[in-house]
Symmetry: C2
Subunit: 348 residues, 2 copies
Amino acid sequence: MHERPAWYDSAFMRAARREAVEYTPIWLMRQAGRYQPQYRAIREKHGFLELCKTPALAAEVMLVAVEQLGVDAAIIFADLLPILEPMGMDLEFAAGEGPAIHNPIREPADVERLVELEDLGPLEYVMETVRQTRAGLDPRLPLLGFAGAPFTLAGYAIEGGASRDFARTKRLMLTDPAAWDALLGRLARAVARYLNAQIAAGAQAVQLFDSWAGCLGPDEYRRHVLPHTRSVIAAIAPGVPVVNFATGNPTLLPLLSEAGGSVIGIDWRVRLDDAWRAVGYDRAVQGNLDPAVLLTNATEIRRHAKAILDQAAGRPGHIFNLGHGILPETPVENAVALVDAVHEFSAA
Amino acid sequence: MHERPAWYDSAFMRAARREAVEYTPIWLMRQAGRYQPQYRAIREKHGFLELCKTPALAAEVMLVAVEQLGVDAAIIFADLLPILEPMGMDLEFAAGEGPAIHNPIREPADVERLVELEDLGPLEYVMETVRQTRAGLDPRLPLLGFAGAPFTLAGYAIEGGASRDFARTKRLMLTDPAAWDALLGRLARAVARYLNAQIAAGAQAVQLFDSWAGCLGPDEYRRHVLPHTRSVIAAIAPGVPVVNFATGNPTLLPLLSEAGGSVIGIDWRVRLDDAWRAVGYDRAVQGNLDPAVLLTNATEIRRHAKAILDQAAGRPGHIFNLGHGILPETPVENAVALVDAVHEFSAA
């Protein structure tokens, strides 16, 4: 007889399956990061990509964060973009600046330069981060893997970095749908392999980040993005919860639901109750506190946490989180106050 | 007997009153701008603020754009931020960079530094731009005035420039609502005076730009922003159409409607038919083509224009526009193709 692993009945995994929980589970996007003195100390000695590529350090920063905050899930410390390196993109994180890709895809013909990701060998450090984080983590807590969604990865590959309006990305998408679909298809297959490898290495759930999908309207998302996100999610190992998260445009929520995912991630631009109705009650939801609320004080944080919990009350399947990554200027004690407030109010 | 001015029965003014039109009126946000060779030639000789403060030039760039595009309305060439100068903010537009405010509001006590705008004298160049643009414009076309909405102006005054997450703005808003309301109240009174002065100088309609409101969720917008936007709109001279425009979050649309405005501006993150339903059919709507579509080609532009017109069909009160400002890399002939397509399809 096979005994169920301890994490199987964790609050996070139960909520992801929409089962009743004793308290609402919470974790925070970017819970290991610049807002923590310990993280900043490590970053003084190691570059960002170096940290991502050193599993012992990557595991350490996450385990410190989980311990410090008392959250109900860990997520591997990694980045959306390194998957593009073995696909042929020349990636750099310059100090104090955002990521830069030095050989971006600019014309339809450039799509060929993004090669099929056949061999996950160059990303082995990520799987090793999964193993080491899992090994150090409380067995009762789940570990999440993650990846960028095809649209967001394409946006980086085409723009070469952050962008305000994604003009180049949209121009390629609208003027050459065949090249676009070839590009997103290649990215979708790479992301699915990458996430399944993280699962094989020991992750209990995975999250897809479509951080930039909010620059699209619903018709463009449906036509040019949804099929690719759907193909990623359909390829994930059965039984593993997928959190499908996009930010920036609440009108996409029903389409995220259509694309798949047992949990839909919600940002703060919509009330959680309205979001859940739009997503459908056959899904769990994750969210959705504005990260800026963590810059205030315990009273204000508790008031906002309570309001969100009230919107989710009476229905299993809510995982508390921010609506986007924690801000670097967040006081650590405020993040702790949020975790405590969510546990306290939801257990009551 | 008083004869009605020629612009009164223009397609724009009729649509703003939700009266039947022979074709859908169109104008484009930032229709005078960097995408035009004529504008770039003027900007080679004059700084941006200098251009804004030289009514003859400001009128010229707009009149050239109206002529070149064949649009159905002009809007004064001006900027959201100069209103902050006579209120005590030290504003600069450095070449190649966004605007910067060198003495931003950082603490609640700083709010006092933003002084009540009693005297519109320092903004007289804007009223003169209204007069000169009106004088040069086809009498059958309306001229719009405009201003930033209180939230967006507060965001600039607090952040000191563009921002990704508006962390300082939200912190002030959430931690000191009294200081926040004092700040937005002062801005709202200033904006109302400023818009009414533009109307007195000869503008037929006005648009409020809440370019950054999309960083807020609906509960925060309702509590901290809506009352101030409402007080601006309530103070506008009766009978003058107000376009109430915000970008970045379609869930705010019913609240924009609550705040007021006979026309609600819509960005491209939502279908126009869904947006109109959310706004209420007792309002006209303006929008909502993704500006990135103008980077493609005539075929694609016509396809998108048709789709939006179809969503608005059968109901008077649609003014065609982009969902945000025209992008600098837009080919002029593509903007012309859009105007022609909207006129052609809607007259058919």
